[in-house]
Symmetry: C2
């Protein structure tokens, strides 16, 4: 086991410095992918990479790499560690940035401590993980893993009408390297949990062995707009009431299923949306997640069956549009075991767990053994200025990462 | 019984002519109160009043009156018949206009046929019945009945930022008369049903004996915005799910109550309204109606009780804002009986009924004996370009009005 430890003050200082870049006049942090604000964050990150003596490389989709090739190490597949530095609107300072800056800290610590790796170690910051300005999210890692053609990704039109490729060129981050130019020996990503499980169980380290499958659908219900005062209940075709039944059905099923299935209706709208008119149309989104593909399919099938029933019972027409679908991802068991062992050796509590959110690691898992490390999020809050993790937990996570990377980087074969 | 009958072709022609005034480039009819489009409708109506030899009078809130004072008749209280000519957005041509133009047609028929009334007969078109541009609705008749000060009403700011008083002046309908300047002997309003009851029962004439009480409330539910993927169901404070339970509760209660209570949720919104975020806030409107005040109060009390329960069960905060409250209105039984008798004498089917919608008649009922006549709405559709009533039913309704007005106008005492 390594006896190194990272420089906590340097890491925490950098997290706070990066978190101050891209704030608006009201102090809200928003570094949307390839924006002017994000350019400032990228520039700061590149400066830190260069100052640490790493080689800076940018690929065509704007992913940034800081490469440490120790003396005599050239062709070996690198250990890559990273995450993203773009943010949502009105974000916290840890989501993504914690993983990227910890990766840099780990490499810098190893380098400064005279660690002798058998392969390159690379910090990566992937473009547009959040997907707020350009869809889909996790775009940079998806392109890197070959799941989306770089030309297609660069042609994406943003919510503000801009083209991603144009914006990357404008901010100086349309790099020369082909995505995938570094073939990882292993990939490991440190991240805040963004959920309440670790805090609730007083556990410091999550050894993330899988990412939930995600099913996103939009349900549209069509009924009849009629006068709220003159139409007897028995004669109504109330799209809003049918929509409400979909919401309570999903919740009741998830609650009673005795499984980790989660179901969320986050968006809704009624038409004509007038106080005295029965809704003729209701649109709602359904977010279903489960770590198990079979159970996720069962949840989707149960929804289809319920929508059929409701269409009969409420005399409404129901249509469904699929918005996104990702199967669950299983991470590399060998790396997960290393994370557990590293935590134990440091005297830290740990548990295996599933990631409820999507992460770049699930994309890179397509081309390399990969896993993630989680640290607790206070009250499970994320994508919010209140997002917070105790310094003690931040430092514990990085030291576990340090130990695992140390092991992986010494491996000559897998 | 009168043996007169109205001039069907003249009436139907005027309804269609007025229905062509105020259409936009897409052919949608929108004559919002005191707008340029409504000015054109008012001007046409005033021309018809004057052409019929009636005296035109406009009061300070813009209500238009066409007064027939037969020879020697001056100080007697008038029989007033009317409705409104403002419309909703993308309206049909019958709502309100049918009552106003029928009133004019009745007076013109009586006049032309040499009818000798004992008191003046007046057609009234009340300002801003729909309440789309300026709140509250039924404003002109409310002011006329003394329920709202004219200065307050004139100062109302519209959805487009305009002031009603300014707009009335601009379009030339800020008249000199004090609202209430004509004290009615009786008021009677002919209107399309705007509901499905008469058509469903194949009845031609509704003798409207009451107007439902209305309770409008806005319910706001506050929970926690959390990540849809990482927050277990048991740890959620889901404002959207709580809102859905309110909707299904109201529907189930109305359906199972074995009473005419109706409950409608017409408007809803979630915040932050993102597919992968549990709603932190849900806002919905509740429209409760019942012809019986005691039952309406019971419905309101049941909602309060349910909101208390849901606030506990779902760990959310619930607040309620009252938007409008009108007690049920009982119309004058003597006039209602005259309507039933007139229908019978004309060989028309009729039934006593409650109005589900609000009408100017309920305001004027505060200061005079009042009642309404309904004719069937095809499929119950109103506030919609598909609003339609068969010509045969339109004509039947006006002839019943003619007979009832003939009787009321001959009365020397009540």
């Amino acid at each position: 086991m390594s006896s190194h430890s990272i420089d906590s003050a340097r890491l925490l200082g950098r997290i706070r410095m990066l978190g101050d870049i891209g704030r608006d006049v009201d102090g809200r942090l928003s570094r949307l992918a390839a924006s002017d604000a994000e350019k400032l964050g990228r520039d700061q990150f590149v400066t830190w990479i260069a100052d640490a003596g790493l080689e800076v490389a940018v690929d065509r989709i704007g992913n940034i790499f800081g490469i440490w090739r120790a003396c005599g190490i050239t062709d070996e597949k690198p250990v890559i560690l990273g995450s993203h530095i773009d943010t949502v609107i009105d974000a916290g300072i840890y989501d993504g940035c914690y993983g990227v800056l910890s990766a840099l800290e780990v490499i810098q610590t190893l380098k400064e401590d005279g660690f002798v790796p058998s392969r390159p170690i690379v910090v990566a910051a992937f473009t547009n993980e959040e997907g707020v300005r350009y869809a889909p999210d996790m775009m940079g890692s998806l392109v890197y893993a070959g799941g989306l053609a770089v030309e297609t990704a660069l042609a994406t039109v943003g919510t503000d009408g801009t083209i991603l490729g144009g914006e990357l060129g404008r901010i100086g981050y349309a790099g020369p390297h082909e995505p995938g130019f570094l073939s990882p020996h292993a990939y490991i990503e440190l991240h805040i949990e963004q959920g309440p499980v670790l805090e609730r169980e007083s556990i410091t380290i999550g050894a993330v062995e899988s990412v939930q499958g995600i099913s996103w659908q939009r349900v549209t219900v069509e009924g009849d707009a009629n006068h709220a005062g003159t139409t007897p209940i028995s004669m109504r075709r109330d799209a809003g009431h049918a929509a409400a039944r979909v919401i309570t059905f999903l919740r009741d099923r998830a609650k009673n299923s005795n499984s980790p299935t989660v179901a969320t209706v986050g968006c809704i709208s009624f038409e004509p949306n007038a106080i005295n008119v029965i809704p003729s149309r209701a649109t709602l989104t359904v977010d279903l997640r489960d770590p198990d593909e079979e159970r996720l399919r069962q949840a989707e099938a149960a929804l289809v069956k319920f929508l059929d029933a409701i269409s009969q019972e409420e005399h409404v027409e129901v249509s469904v549009e699929r918005l996104a679908r990702f199967e669950p991802v299983r991470f590399d068991q060998r790396i997960v075991a290393k994370i557990e062992k590293a935590a134990k050796d440091r005297g830290l509590t740990s548990r295996r767990m599933t990631s409820g959110a999507g992460h770049d690691a699930q994309m890179i898992a397509r081309i390399a053994p990969a896993a993630m490390i989680f640290v607790p999020s206070i009250a499970g809050i994320s994508h919010n200025p209140k997002e917070r993790t105790n310094d003690e937990h931040l430092i514990a996570g990085v030291n576990v990462l340090l130990d695992v990377v140390g092991e992986l980087a010494r491996e000559v074969t897998w």
